[in-house]
């Protein structure tokens, strides 16, 4: 009987072996145009770039992209994403790729091709600048799947349709900027996003945020209404493209502020379109406890 008892104890000792969990980390593949614009003057060239993230949220290097325009009379486009603005009006650039499951993944951006008057380029730029200053009612709407962007010049309304989430932002002062590097009069899309942190667990985690590139680096600002449970052990903030895991995400900081406004200055190497989610992660339990969809 003593021997049997020892055998039972030894068997139970084996139960302490480290096993393996299966994590369902599927996310919808995401194709995003990383340098959208609001407007471009006739006759000017501009190269769009796009990034593709697969079903695990991993960035695909050198994906096969197909670039299209609508209507073809407004723009011409090369397969490296370079457009040539031809005729004034509204135009849409469409980029497509194929997902791992063979489905077509698409992103769109819509903008204005502005007419070039008899004045020279510098005048045209000045007019664009004025338009930007007047955009006090500019509205940015994001829906997550198809990524359509529409801009009406006078009211400066931009709408982006994608499928999985919706973000609505009202801005009093548009941060639309002119591409001064080229001096071509191209008006870049706003270099910020605003959104809401939501709890994906039973812990309290909420608040609004603003994710803004100031030309040098990104600042993540949490609003006064931010709240997080102080009972959460080992809470960390990550940036990632898959809210189900921090595998492949970048760790920003251990969370030390649990109430009220504060901000994080991100490394200059991070670009605005690099990460789609803020991920609040509890290390001891290895689980996501909250997230914010950036765009």
């Amino acid at each position: 009987m003593k021997n049997a008892s020892f055998i039972i104890v030894c068997f139970l000792l084996l139960l302490s072996c480290v096993g393996e969990d299966l994590v369902n980390d599927y996310v919808d593949p995401d194709l995003r145009i990383s340098n959208a614009i609001l407007s471009i003057p006739e006759g000017v060239q501009y190269q769009f770039t796009a990034r593709f993230f697969d079903e695990s949220g991993t960035k695909v290097e050198n994906p096969t992209l197909v670039w299209l325009v609508d209507p073809p009379t407004a723009l011409s486009i090369a397969q490296d994403g370079t457009i040539q603005a031809i005729a004034a009006g509204e135009a849409t650039v469409i980029v497509q790729t194929t997902g791992l499951r063979g489905d077509i993944i698409e992103a769109r951006t819509t903008f204005s091709v502005t007419a070039v008057t008899s004045t020279d380029t510098s005048t045209s730029t000045s007019e664009t600048s004025t338009m930007t200053a007047d955009s006090e009612t500019s509205t940015l709407t994001t829906d997550t799947e198809t990524s359509t962007m529409t801009t009406e010049t006078e009211t400066s309304t931009m709408t982006t349709d994608t499928e999985t989430s919706t973000m609505t932002t009202e801005t009093e002062t548009s941060t639309t900027t002119i591409d001064n590097n080229t001096g071509t009069g191209i008006v870049l899309a706003p270099q910020f996003y605003e959104g809401e942190i939501i709890s994906t667990s039973s812990y309290i985690l909420e608040g609004n945020f603003r994710y803004e590139h100031n030309g040098t680096q990104i600042t993540l600002s949490l609003d006064e209404n931010y709240r997080a449970s102080t009972s959460l052990p080992g809470l960390y903030l990550y940036l990632g493209n898959n809210p189900n895991t921090v595998n492949g995400a970048i760790e920003i900081a251990k969370v030390t502020v649990f109430n009220g406004a504060h901000e994080y200055i991100l490394p200059p190497s991070i670009e605005l379109a690099d990460y789609k989610y803020l991920i609040y992660w509890c290390k001891p339990f290895s689980v996501p406890v909250g997230e914010g969809t950036i765009f």
């Binding site: 480290v18 649990f258 001891p284 339990f285």
Partner: protein, 281 residues
Amino acid sequence: MKKYITLSLVLLAINASAQWTQEKGKGYYKIGAWFLEANEHYTDTGLVDPNITRGHFITSFFGRVGLTNKLTLIGYLPYTQVYQNGQRFSSGLPSLPGESFASLGDIDLAVEYQLWKKKGWAFSTSLILGLPTGDDAGGSDGSYQTGDGEFNQSLQFNLGKSFPIGKQNFYFKSNISINQRSKGYSDEWHFGLETGTKIAKDKLLLLGRFNTRQSLQNGSLSAVNNNGSIFANNVEVTNLGGEIIYGFSKVWSISFTGSFPISGKVIYKAPALAVGIALEL
């Protein structure tokens, strides 16, 4: 959380033979293995959230020796392994390896003094000291704790009664204690009930338990001021459990224990299982 587990184990062992103190010169010694693996936990709101599978495995030595007929010395020496499973991803991303960390856990020392014993009733008190001999920042990220780094003292009162129902003898025990904790952790109170009876010519002892531990919410320690450590304060839990003890000789016995949480806060939600071999001399 780790501290709770350690203290629960020693209290479980102490309560199992509390009230009726050890006779002078007699001893009870037990080698045990305790196991808990959880893929969900109670949050601070008492709701249940999932987590990556984590486990605690504790092998321990427990002993109690009667210094006098009324005074018993008790010791608990755990060796603790904390581990987390690896993660395999459905997307095909490279797996993340698991991790484990093992060290000496928090040692507990206690004395129990019999205050009163008469007509089947027994009343005693215990002073339990929790020594911070475990590691409160083990593993790669400091979350594989085998102790919480704090010295705590628990004062417990035990009341027991043996009684017959028909021809069958039963016993009933209750205990209540205050656990004073240091380093900003909240103090706790706990309450337990136990009843049992022997069958099969007194070779088999069957018993059932109810235990609850509640935080007094008076600690200053929170995620705001923890200076970077990973911890769990204000842990609470209520368990139902049972134990089967089989005496296969006059001095040797083997026990199987199960404990099942029915509510809690900031603690794993999973049954804890234990087995032990005891020698009574």
